[in-house]
Symmetry: C2
Subunit: 257 residues, 2 copies
Amino acid sequence: MPIETPQPEYRQVAAELRLAIRSGEFRPGSQLPSEPELAERFGTTRATINRALSVLRTEGLIKPERGRGTTVNKLPVIRRATIGRQAREAREESGARGAFAAELQRLGLTPRSDVTLGEVSAPAEVAELFEDPDLVLEGATLFARRRVMFAENVPVQLATSYLPLDVASAAQLTQEDTGPGGAYSRLADVGLAPARFRELVRVRTPDDAEARALDLDADHRVYDITRIARTVEDRVIEVNRIVLPAHQWELDTEWEA
Amino acid sequence: MPIETPQPEYRQVAAELRLAIRSGEFRPGSQLPSEPELAERFGTTRATINRALSVLRTEGLIKPERGRGTTVNKLPVIRRATIGRQAREAREESGARGAFAAELQRLGLTPRSDVTLGEVSAPAEVAELFEDPDLVLEGATLFARRRVMFAENVPVQLATSYLPLDVASAAQLTQEDTGPGGAYSRLADVGLAPARFRELVRVRTPDDAEARALDLDADHRVYDITRIARTVEDRVIEVNRIVLPAHQWELDTEWEA
DNA sequence: TCTTATTTGTTCGTATGTATT
DNA sequence: GAATACATACGAACAAATAAG
């Protein structure tokens, strides 16, 4: 009979610190005691404390920084509505530009967004999703709108929208400002309104570029979301690759039977 | 200017081993060399190898076991359809009982499922979702159908379906076998067909019970899905809490604009 | 059943590196 | 430059699970 295995020391310490944070002993935004101090307090060595802290770091609860100390994170969990986020009402909610801004305004957070535009060579896994003989090839040229989105100046989302070149220019999406309602409203304006969507969600570790852009460690987890938008005629009109720090987001889907 | 920081040694080792696995040098189901052997091969110590392996373990790529050695995992990623999984056709697909069996049969995997039935005291976060004055209280009594689901005898899903007592008995869901089409078909039979669904998805570490049931480590990640089903009259008829090992599942959602 | 060897998990002590104050 | 703080690495030891005899 498998008796209760006592948890290893670094997990016990992690659990106690987790409780101390939740109970308010260490408040969001405040500093934890240094590792040597914690080692003293828990009667163990710095190596064990360091391992315990790295558990909480990976969970997104704290942010240890060399030379600076360890801070308790403060951002609340952001809820992302999967369906309806493309509805015009949601996108234009309280004057917000796009679904992201609306999501943050609901939490009282200040959104900001950096956009980079340009033609790119299609990654293989994106190209094949277009199901278009001219585009299936890896290396075909697509128009890309890369966005880095911030909440309170903390990066919380990466999104790269890939469009066929003709679509991008027809819908005037080669400009930075997509106007009220965002890119989907512009596509609708030229008769290319998205009619069907599909999202594939995975969880994985961030690659180097993502970790840098989102200020994550290599052992954090991100949602990797691929969204495919089609017109009524079933033409794939956009592929959007979205990366979200997993500990900062909750996905919310509603539908009718 | 922040020059390229070379990755730490344990990450370099992890990356090389990841490649070696993907390239086929170490095949799914086979054993990795022992830690001392790998330490020799990479010119480092066992401590560093151990840390590198724990990176790959957390990613779900390998399964180190004390005394036994380290095995390369073999289960493919399972795709879970969010919408449509409640459609009768999907549930009854190729004679399968329920959506889970259908998902696995599509991959050629053998499903198995253990069910535990009984009345339980409602967890607070479940009770409040029922929005029913008699049930809102923590500790109200609900009927629970707990399922542990296996693919090739590996546990890959936990699901606990909570129902009000009167609903459970009316729909005959207090019996183990829910018949063709599963529980939702039985609810429909008695005029309580679910009409609207909502799913909230989070990613977190498993608790002790989940880790045991799913054979996971404490630093793995799981999807924590809460599904709420309502009737046409908007009555919450079921709350389903689903736990999936994050590295084994992909979530697939399709919808019309 | 008992013993022994093997394998991974954890902890310690120490040392060094890197970033910040 | 010095002090502080976290990150990584090494070597050693022991614990716990397994396998082989």
